[in-house]
C-alpha cells in the first residue's frame, strides 16, 4: 500500500509541478468549450441544448492530451524498468499511475465544468448531475486511455495514435454521461445513466490494469 501511495504521490508532484500537464489540460478544456459559442452563435436555447455534449466531448479530448506522456517519460529515463521490478504487481503500479493521471486531469476538469455549464446556459438542476457524471466517467477515460498509452509506448507517432485507439473505446462514457445530464435537464431521473457510468467504471477498474500491465511488460522486453 505504501508503495502504491508513493507512486501516486510522485506522479502528483510531477503533475502539479511546472512541467506537469495539469494546467495545460485545464486550459485546453476551458478554451475548447469557449470556442463553441463562437462557432454556433450566442443564442441561449442553442447553447443550453448542446451544453452537455460540448462539455463531455471537450472533456474526452482534454483527457487524451497528456496520455501519451503517462508512461513515456518513465520509460525514457528508466523509471519504468525499476517500477516493473518493484515488489508491487505491475497492474497495481499501472493503477497508481492512472489514479495520479485522473487526479491531475479528470478531477480538476470535473470541478471546473459547472462553471462552464453556467456559461453555456445549462439548466441549474442539471449542473450537480453533470458534476456527478464527470466524477464517475472521467476515471474510466484515464483507465482506458492508459491502455492506449501503454500499447503505444515506443511507437512512431504515439501521441496521435493514443486518441485514435482510445476514443472509439470510450464512446459509452460519452453517451451515458451526456444522457445523465440531458435526463436531469428534462426533469427525468438521471439515476439509470449514472448507474451505467458506474458499471462501466467498475468493469474498467477491474479489467484494464491487466491490459495495461501486459502492454507495459511488452514494451520493456
Amino acid at each position: 500500500m505504501s508503495a502504491f501511495l508513493a507512486i501516486v504521490a510522485r506522479d502528483l508532484r510531477l503533475g502539479f509541478g511546472a512541467q506537469g500537464a495539469m494546467l495545460t489540460t485545464l486550459l485546453f478544456f476551458v478554451l475548447a468549450v469557449s470556442l463553441f459559442p463562437l462557432g454556433v452563435g450566442p443564442e441561449p436555447q442553442i447553447l443550453a441544448r448542446i451544453a452537455a455534449g460540448v462539455i463531455w466531448v471537450a472533456a474526452l479530448l482534454a483527457a487524451m492530451l497528456s496520455l501519451d506522456r503517462l508512461f513515456q517519460t518513465d520509460q525514457e529515463d528508466g523509471t519504468l524498468d525499476l517500477l516493473a521490478q518493484a515488489p508491487l504487481p505491475l497492474g497495481l503500479v499501472a493503477l497508481a499511475k492512472t489514479l495520479a493521471h485522473w487526479l491531475t486531469t479528470g478531477l480538476p476538469l470535473s470541478l471546473i465544468a459547472p462553471l462552464l455549464a453556467i456559461l453555456l446556459q445549462m439548466e441549474a438542476d442539471a449542473i450537480p448531475v453533470l458534476l456527478a457524471a464527470l466524477l464517475l466517467g472521467t476515471p474510466s477515460l484515464s483507465l482506458i486511455g492508459a491502455i492506449g498509452a501503454a500499447l503505444t509506448l515506443g511507437a512512431k507517432r504515439g501521441a496521435v495514435l493514443v486518441p485514435l485507439l482510445t476514443l472509439p473505446l470510450v464512446i459509452p462514457v460519452l453517451i451515458f454521461g451526456v444522457g445523465a445530464v440531458e435526463a436531469a435537464a428534462y426533469g427525468l431521473s438521471a439515476g439509470p445513466h449514472l448507474l451505467l457510468l458506474g458499471a462501466f467504471l467498475a468493469g474498467a477498474l477491474a479489467l484494464s490494469p491487466f491490459a495495461i500491465a501486459a502492454a507495459v511488460r511488452l514494451a520493456l522486453e
Binding site: L151, P168, I171, P172, I175, A211, L218
Partner: protein, 244 residues
C-alpha cells in the same frame, strides 16, 4: 492441432490445400447469390428496386462483424499460446474486415438517400458500424506504428481483445443513445419476416463472402509468412556481411 499449425511450413501447406476450395465457394456463392439477388429476385413492395442494395449491404455488415470476432479469437490464441501464425491471421484479417465495414457504410449511405432522404442518418446500426470501422483503423495503425513485428503483433493483439470486450458495451450504448434521440425507428430487417425469394440469395451471397475471406486469408497469411522469412534472411545477410 493448434501446435501443429504453429509450424509456418505446415500452415502454408494447409493454406495451399484450402485455397482452391475457398476460391470455388467464393466465385460460386458471390456469382449465384449476387446474380439472383440483383437480377432475378422480386423487388420490394415498398422500396421497389432499391431493396437490391441489401444483397451487398447486409453480407458486408455480417462480414465486418464476423471478421472482428475472428480477429479477436486469433489474437487471444496468439497471446495465450504465443502462436506465431495466429498473429498473422489476425493481421491479415484486419484490412479485409475494414473493407467490408466500409462497403457496408457506403452502401448504407447509398440506400439511405432514397429511403430516408439523406445520405447519412445516425441510425444505431450504421453508427455501430462506423465505430467498428474506427476500431479496425486503430488496429491497423497500431500494427504499422512499430518497426519490430513481434512487438507490433502482441500490442495489436491486446488492442483487439480490449476492443472485443468493449464492443458489446459500445453496441448497447449506441442503441441506448439512439432510442434517446430518435424515437421513431427506421426500417429493420426483423420487421415482417423475410420472404424466401429474398432470404436465399442473401444467404448464398453471405456464404460466398465467407469463402472470399478465407481465400484472401490464405493469400495474405502466405505473403506475411514469406515477408517474415525475407526479413530474417535480410538480417542474417547483414550480420554475415559485418562478420566477414
Amino acid at each position: 492441432m493448434l501446435h501443429a499449425l504453429a509450424n509456418p511450413a505446415r500452415f502454408l501447406r494447409l493454406m495451399a490445400a484450402i485455397r482452391p476450395w475457398a476460391a470455388g465457394v467464393a466465385v460460386l456463392g458471390l456469382g449465384v447469390g449476387l446474380a439472383w439477388g440483383l437480377l432475378y429476385s422480386p423487388p420490394d413492395y415498398q422500396q421497389g428496386e432499391t431493396v437490391r442494395i441489401m444483397y451487398i449491404h447486409v453480407p458486408a455488415a455480417w462480414m465486418g462483424m464476423f471478421i472482428y470476432a475472428a480477429m479477436a479469437v486469433a489474437s487471444a490464441t496468439a497471446l495465450i499460446w504465443r502462436h506465431p501464425v495466429a498473429e498473422l491471421v489476425a493481421k491479415a484479417s484486419a484490412p479485409a474486415g475494414a473493407a467490408f465495414t466500409l462497403i457496408c457504410l457506403i452502401t448504407g449511405s447509398l440506400w439511405g438517400k432514397p429511403m430516408w432522404g439523406a445520405w447519412w442518418v445516425w441510425d444505431a446500426r450504421l453508427t455501430s458500424m462506423l465505430i467498428l470501422f474506427f476500431l479496425y483503423l486503430g488496429y491497423i495503425a497500431l500494427w504499422e506504428a512499430f518497426d519490430d513485428p513481434a512487438r507490433a503483433g502482441r500490442a495489436a493483439a491486446i488492442l483487439a481483445l480490449v476492443g472485443a470486450i468493449n464492443l458489446p458495451i459500445i453496441k448497447f450504448s449506441v442503441d441506448w443513445w439512439n432510442t434517446m434521440h430518435q424515437p421513431a425507428s427506421v426500417l429493420t430487417l426483423e420487421g415482417p419476416k423475410i420472404h424466401p425469394d429474398i432470404l436465399w440469395p442473401l444467404l448464398i451471397t453471405a456464404i460466398g463472402a465467407k469463402g472470399y475471406y478465407v481465400w484472401l486469408l490464405t493469400v495474405r497469411v502466405r505473403a506475411e509468412i514469406l515477408k517474415r522469412q525475407a526479413r530474417i534472411l535480410r538480417f542474417a545477410a547483414a550480420t554475415d556481411r559485418r562478420a566477414g
